[in-house]
């Protein structure tokens, strides 16, 4: 799993503190009104927090390339599922629904 340069204690404390701060930040942001950006920021912070946990707490930062590849593959295929389902749902009503004037020439 790891080529065994152990992560020092200070790093653990720093990451732990950062995670708590980020949690506080995301809750604070939730109460501000940034319009559509609220969701983007909330997910962005969640992604940052999870990257911190993955890299330092799960020692992926100095683990073998295989472990990194496995992690990326899992996330990639989940995003494929989300992307293609949304590709369907968002464009489902773009072409002639009954009663709607035909979108393209026709």
């Amino acid at each position: 799993m790891s080529t065994k340069q152990p992560i020092g204690l200070p790093t653990y404390f720093a990451v732990f503190a950062a995670l708590l701060v980020l949690t506080g930040l995301t809750v604070w942001v939730a109460f501000q009104d940034f319009g559509v950006y609220n969701n983007v920021i909330a997910l962005g912070i969640a992604v940052i927090k999870s990257t911190l946990v993955v890299l330092f707490f799960m020692h992926v930062i100095h683990s073998t390339p295989l472990t990194k590849l496995i992690l990326v593959t899992a996330v990639f295929f989940f995003l494929i599922l989300v992307a293609f389902v949304y590709a369907d749902v968002w464009t489902r009503d773009m072409l002639n629904l009954p009663g709607r004037p035909p979108l393209i020439g026709g």
């Binding site: 629904l97 009954p98 035909p102």
Partner: protein
């Protein structure tokens, strides 16, 4: 023209689908026979001559790999474009299409003609006229399938799916339910009777319905006392429905939507979802009180209001402005 082992071709679209299918079958046949021929020839030519004979040194050639990746790829992509063209032609409804409603219910098909006629399983349509089918289901997923017209559209509950066809030959064709829907899935069949225009009109008179779709919609409109809020003279409590059909409406809380069948159905079943700007969400839900055909009748009624109100649109627009 009836090819052996092909269903009748009763529409222009059917010929296109048969053309692409024949193309695909012939390409596959040629490729298949080619490979099997090479396989048999190699199989016989290099039969083992003595017990310990071993094959010659292994071969591989990147050029050959590229060739037999790119060539099938090109053929498949070609097939894809041709298929996509047919699919979109079948998906895009011509503006002059006459709209019929098809409602799938466990183990029967119910049709509604614009003139108000209603039929179960057997469907009478005029020839040489583009016919738009708005397909929905009351319970599980069904699928309206006419092999002779190469037309298939799933009836999904809670959604209006559309497809269209234009039969270019008269005759009687099979209608099937293609999506498994329970015990009598195989008995949910009917006959599509494509008739000359005058025969169709005679048939309509012969089976004169009590009233047209719009009229039965109007009756429902009264029955459920929609008129108390949706008045034609004042838009204080609710939007005026005359001429609203197919028009873009501003929504409360921003956003604009076209008042199409789906929006009207959603506003009946879940009124608070998209409230028109300038109004309070006071409309009660009719979820569970109206059957699918009744909603379709109300939609036809609202659509008919649009046509009647052509002349009075300015007045209605003026009135609704005061309402805001």
């Amino acid at each position: 023209m009836k090819l052996p082992f092909f269903p009748e071709q009763a529409s222009a679209m059917a010929q296109q689908v048969d053309a692409i299918s024949l193309f695909a079958v012939s390409i596959s046949f040629v490729a298949g026979v080619g490979i099997v021929a090479v396989l048999t020839w190699l199989g016989l030519r290099y039969r083992r001559s003595h017990r310990d004979e071993v094959g010659s040194a292994g071969h591989s050639s990147n050029l050959l790999e590229i060739i037999w990746s790119v060539i099938p790829g090109i053929i498949f992509i070609g097939l894809f474009f041709w298929g996509a063209k047919i699919y979109f032609e079948n998906y895009r409804i011509p503006p002059d299409a006459v709209r019929y409603y098809v409602v799938g219910k466990q183990w029967m098909w119910k049709y509604q003609h614009p003139s108000g006629n209603r039929e179960i399983n057997d469907f009478h349509v005029p020839v040489d006229t583009p016919i738009e089918l708005v397909v929905t289901s009351e319970d599980v997923i069904h699928s309206f399938f006419v092999p002779a017209l190469r037309v298939k559209r799933d009836a999904v509950p809670g959604r209006y799916s559309t497809t269209w066809f234009e039969a270019n030959r008269t005759g009687t064709f099979d209608i099937f339910c293609a999506e498994y829907c329970g015990a009598e899935h195989s008995l949910m069949i009917g006959k599509l009777h494509v008739m000359e225009q005058h025969d169709y009109e005679e048939w309509l008179e012969g089976n004169e319905p009590a009233q047209s779709l719009a009229m039965s919609g109007a009756a429902l409109f009264e029955q459920n006392s929609c008129g108390t809020c949706h008045r034609s003279d004042s838009s204080a409590r609710a939007p005026i429905l005359d001429g609203i059909y197919g028009r873009e409406i501003a929504l409360l809380g921003g956003g604009v939507i076209v008042a199409d069948d789906a929006y009207i159905r959603e506003s009946i079943m879940n009124p608070q979802a998209k409230v028109v700007a300038g109004y309070q969400p006071i409309m009660p839900t009719f979820q569970g009180q109206l059957r699918e055909e009744e909603i379709l009748e109300l939609i036809s009624y609202i659509q008919s209001l649009g046509k009647k109100a052509e002349s009075r649109t300015e007045a209605a627009a003026a009135v609704s402005d005061e309402g805001e």
